[in-house]
Subunit: 309 residues, 2 copies
């Protein structure tokens, strides 16, 4: 298929890997790009040096386009921006901060720029700042969460109506049904996190995280630290500990310390980010299998619905 | 179109009016039934006598099938069940309680029964209790909210995979895009509340509620009284008052009193239930116009997507 997203990023399918801090490394990102999508290296927990290394590692695996995700509120954000400009990264995804600061410079350096937004106003601001596309991230999404808490089904058409640039949908999209539904809602692509965690190529999560994804159900995730530093995580013992700390009234600093000192490679429980669609994930597959399911599954589904079968 | 829902309820389109306490009266329900959907009288705030009157009023306007919605935790629930059985109401929608208690009796009395559910387990229990269909209500939905907070996009495919009975989708569905997306996700119909509030035939809401719907945006609703009696309402001054009360640490009884003593006909602010799709509603239309948009709009959309136009 061809649309504005595939043309903008020169990719086969408008399906991006959602940047997940410490998890979406060169290997996983390269696998998504090789499968026809847009692989994303998450820079949130990288230094300038380690990000540069990841970018080189990815380019050793694939010559195809890829993205780097940079949360603009990260203390080292400026250094990371410097790296992606020097490395001529094809697509830069910015999040959690103002897109007004770096977008022009990034575009001048030759990158396409996408910004992650949780509501209509942020989408308009990003468009005003000159980004090429927005990723509209709904309430169902795993990891850092927006206080606006707008469900993906409501958010996508509202954002699509409000901007002229193309919109990618994120939050709760784990299979062909979710992908097709988001296209119907007006999204020209999707950004997928949780589904790509349960892949052969995802080596940065521990066995406990993986198992909790495979056994996860509709009620297995939770927004934690609401009003402080909201994140959607698996509702495990680590999450209970965090909630106890919060109920005990400790400082925000202690809460942040607890969140960031958790071990995602933990063999038992830890801070395991996860989206609300986790219940639809049954087994570990390859990135290619998931991508094929998205692409052929959604085409079949749309054809079947249109003919009323 | 024909599917299990249209056949089950003997209606033209699988589109139900969501029961809204004090709002979806005989007139609005009859208008939805006359337009080919399933109109719903909300019984939550009715006595046995006033419900019987509403049912007669509806039958004076239309001979078509309709539903009555009964929250099973209402103190007068048993009396309301008695009324719908004596009145041979075609469809009874139960909510907020166990479907195990009345489903068999209602079916024996000749009614079809649907139960509103917020998660997969509840859907399975309802199926086990013998209901004919479930309404899967996602996080985006207005009014009383579930603590599970599962977004509609994630909830529908999970419920569809878990039960054999047909599933109606609710929560954030206000236009043809939402309807078509829910069909893609596997729902065989939808239950729509907020969109039908903004109609000529909806006479039970005050001008302030109506105006706040028309000016509502993506961030205009909020879940209030989380952990106490969660409801999604328009985030107006009344909502601020409620939140102040809660912050002040008053008793649950006082909170409930504040909620239930609010005036929905208020000319300024009040407890105005509203779903998260409100930003897509631009003007007052007739029920028939909305129904036609759902039906023809979704067909066109699905055809266009399938042919890649």
């Amino acid at each position: 298929m061809k649309n504005r997203i595939t043309q903008l990023f020169n990719i086969k399918y408008p399906i991006a890997l959602g940047g997940m801090a410490g998890v979406t490394d060169a290997r996983l990102a390269a696998a998504v790009s090789e499968a026809g999508g847009l692989g994303t290296i998450a820079a949130a927990t990288e230094s300038a040096e380690s990000l540069a290394t990841e970018i080189r590692r990815l380019r050793d695996i694939t010559k195809l386009p890829f993205a780097v995700n940079i949360p603009l509120m990260a203390p080292q954000a400026k250094d990371l921006i410097q790296v992606v400009m020097e490395s001529m990264v094809p697509v830069v995804i910015t999040a959690a901060g103002s897109p007004a600061v770096f977008t022009a410079a990034l575009k001048q350096a030759g990158s396409r720029v996408m910004h992650v937004i949780p509501c209509v106003d942020a989408a308009k601001k990003a468009e005003g700042a000159g980004v090429d596309a927005v990723i509209a991230e709904g309430f169902e999404s795993g990891g850092f969460a927006s206080p606006f808490e707008i469900g993906t089904l409501a958010l996508i058409p509202l954002v699509v109506d409000a901007v002229r640039i193309p919109v990618l949908a994120a939050g709760g999209v784990v299979d062909a049904r979710g992908y097709a539904a988001c296209r119907i809602l007006g999204a020209e692509g999707i950004s997928v996190g949780t589904a790509f965690l349960a892949t052969v190529e995802c080596t940065k999560i521990g066995s406990a995280w993986r198992e909790q994804i495979l056994s996860g159900r509709d009620v297995s995730t939770k927004i934690l630290a609401r009003g402080i530093a909201p994140v959607r995580m698996l509702a495990n013992r680590w999450a209970e500990e965090l909630e106890k700390l919060i109920s005990a009234g400790v400082t925000k600093k202690e809460i942040m310390n607890f969140i960031f000192s958790g071990d995602p490679m933990s063999s038992e429980d830890g801070p395991f980010a996860c989206g609300q669609g986790v219940g639809l994930i049954q087994r570990i597959r390859t990135v290619k299998e998931i991508m094929e399911d998205f692409v052929t599954g959604s085409e079949e589904l749309l054809k079947r619905m249109a003919t009323g079968d």
